[in-house]
């Protein structure tokens, strides 16, 4: 049996079990809604535009926060990776901050920015920025000196040495940081939306809870999974495939 068939069979079995349990009457509907109820909720929610709106808002927030984190984190990681004095000062500060779960920034952020988009953006950035910076930093620091010597020997120096040798050599590490940064940003965003912010998928989850509407809760959870998988497939799997193909890591 092919792996797709195995997967398909497994999920079919899962849904059938869910269906049987939901219709057995052992649990009230607000604890375990039937699969068709969740489906109906999903279709209605998307049809009315309510879910699409929430998806758009959440994705806009995470993309903005993530892009800012990339734009700041990669250069910052490169600088701290190359300049020792900067690494010893700013680098150690960042390392300390990484011990802090990003949602712990929320109270501070609320006091600084009020109940606004800026507050959630700040939390998302604090979630992604540190992983990206630190991964870039270690990637740049761990470039084998042999590559640098060879690059210099072949005539690369200064900026060229950096863009043509050090940066590509650090690429696998940067990809790991980007992926980790993305998942931290996504978690921080959901935590932030659950706690206070209007609109967005986290907010829909909270409304589901308040209305005892378990079908909505599960429907939104589905959406979250799908978005997560989509970004993984579209972006990170591809980047990782590039790394595997060139560095040959899959043969280890």
């Amino acid at each position: 049996m092919g792996s797709t068939a195995k997967k398909g069979g497994f999920f079919l079995l899962l849904i059938l079990t869910w269906y049987a349990l939901a219709h057995s009457g052992w649990w009230p509907e607000y604890m375990l809604p039937a699969p068709e109820a969740v489906c109906r909720n999903l279709v209605n929610g998307i049809g009315s535009g309510r879910y699409l709106m929430a998806i758009a808002v959440s994705i806009r927030r995470i993309l903005l926060g993530y892009l800012i984190s990339l734009g700041v984190g990669i250069p910052l990681g490169m600088l701290t990776g190359r300049l020792k004095w900067l690494d010893e000062t700013v680098g150690s500060l960042l390392l300390g901050f990484q011990a802090l779960p990003s949602i712990a920034w929320l109270p501070l952020s609320l006091l600084w920015f009020g109940l606004s988009e800026k507050a959630i953006l700040f939390v998302v950035i604090m979630g992604a920025l540190l992983s990206i910076t630190l991964a870039t930093n270690s990637g740049v620091k761990n470039v084998p000196p042999l590559y640098i010597r060879a690059g210099k020997n072949l005539g690369a120096k200064g900026k060229t040495l950096f863009t043509q040798v050090i940066l590509p050599a650090a690429f696998p590490s940067i990809v790991i940081g980007m992926k980790q940064g993305w998942s931290f940003a996504w978690r921080s965003l959901m935590a932030g939306e659950l706690l206070f912010i209007n609109l967005g998928l986290g907010h829909l989850l909270m409304i589901g809870r308040e209305l005892n509407d378990m079908a909505q809760v599960i429907a939104v959870m589905f959406i979250l999974i799908v978005i997560g998988l989509l970004f993984d497939r579209l972006l990170f799997s591809r980047l990782e495939a590039v790394v595997r193909r060139r560095w040959g890591f899959d043969q280890v």
């Binding site: 010597r149 060879a150 072949l154 005539g155 060229t160 043509q164 050599a169 690429f171 560095w247 040959g248």
Partner: protein
């Protein structure tokens, strides 16, 4: 010891003139390519200052194949790094006499023990890397890189990534990458040390052939006496810590070198004995 005279510190092996070969041998009076004058280098380490090289004097002629042999840690690699200007000497100077050549992109190039090829580039892109850095146009650099891949017989692998190659192939790509830059001197830092014997012998034969085709000035560092004698016009024996020039042997053996040649074997024995004596002395020093 027929045909083997030792003059002062220089052992000279006379070549029987009737055994002239298809390869050009180096005329005696070519001009110097590289002069190393009184060069010393010291490193600061945790265990204090280590003198890696002490007052090295060497003159390398144009087109000459020079092998430097010595125990590990005798500063052979340091010498190459100094010549390549990756590091600066504490004392003394290294003078390179350049010749005008439009195709010359870099004066001094090292082939490292581990190939130092870039995993994010294909074989072709690796060979063309230096050409790209020097601003050569795409079509031109691809053409030139392919020429040198042909020379090392790896043109079929142009679009492979580095991890797909064997150790010997990697070193041939590294050699092509260096030769593509057409350097004044090619510096080879134990390039075959990590390979198995079979690959090593094949590559050294290939290198001899490429050298005779291109006429490059080569300085080849190794701790393997047999390799040095098989390849070099001249073998320079270094002592360990601090590295100093101990002896110099001139090898006028016919090319391509035949491993079965009794003169060659005799030479290997002679240098090996000197080498062992030296190595033993340096060990005694270290322990005593």
């Amino acid at each position: 010891m027929n045909g083997l005279q030792i003059l002062k510190d220089t052992a000279v092996v006379d070549l029987e003139q009737n055994l002239r070969t298809k390869f050009l041998s180096i005329p005696e009076n070519t001009r110097p390519k590289l002069e190393i004058k009184d060069v010393s280098k010291t490193f600061n380490t945790r265990d204090g200052r280590i003198c890696a090289l002490n007052r090295i004097n060497l003159t390398i002629k144009e087109g000459e194949f020079t092998c430097v042999v010595g125990p590990s840690g005798c500063g052979k690699s340091t010498l190459l790094h100094l010549i390549a200007e990756l590091e600066a000497p504490d004392k003394g100077e290294i003078i390179l006499y350049s010749t005008e050549d439009e195709g010359r992109l870099v004066e001094r190039l090292i082939v490292f023990q581990e190939s130092a090829l870039f995993p994010w580039l294909t074989v072709l892109e690796n060979v063309a890397f230096g050409l790209r850095i020097k601003g050569m146009r795409y079509r031109e650099r691809v053409e030139r890189a392919m020429d040198y891949l042909h020379l090392v017989r790896l043109s079929k692998f142009a679009h492979c990534y580095i991890h797909e190659l064997s150790g010997g192939m990697k070193q041939r790509v590294a050699l092509a990458r260096a030769l593509a830059m057409n350097p004044e001197v090619l510096l080879m830092d134990e390039p075959f040390a990590a390979l198995d014997i079979q690959t090593r012998e094949n590559l050294s034969r290939e290198l001899e052939e490429i050298w005779s085709k291109t006429g490059k000035t080569i300085i080849f560092v190794t701790h393997n006496v047999e390799e040095a004698v098989t390849l070099g016009d001249r073998v320079i024996l270094f002592s360990g810590r601090p590295g100093t020039v101990q002896k110099e042997y001139r090898l006028n053996l016919s090319r391509p070198r035949q491993r079965e040649n009794p003169l060659l074997k005799e030479m290997i024995n002679l240098i090996s004995n000197d080498f062992k004596r030296l190595d033993g002395a340096s060990i005694n020093e270290a322990t005593g």
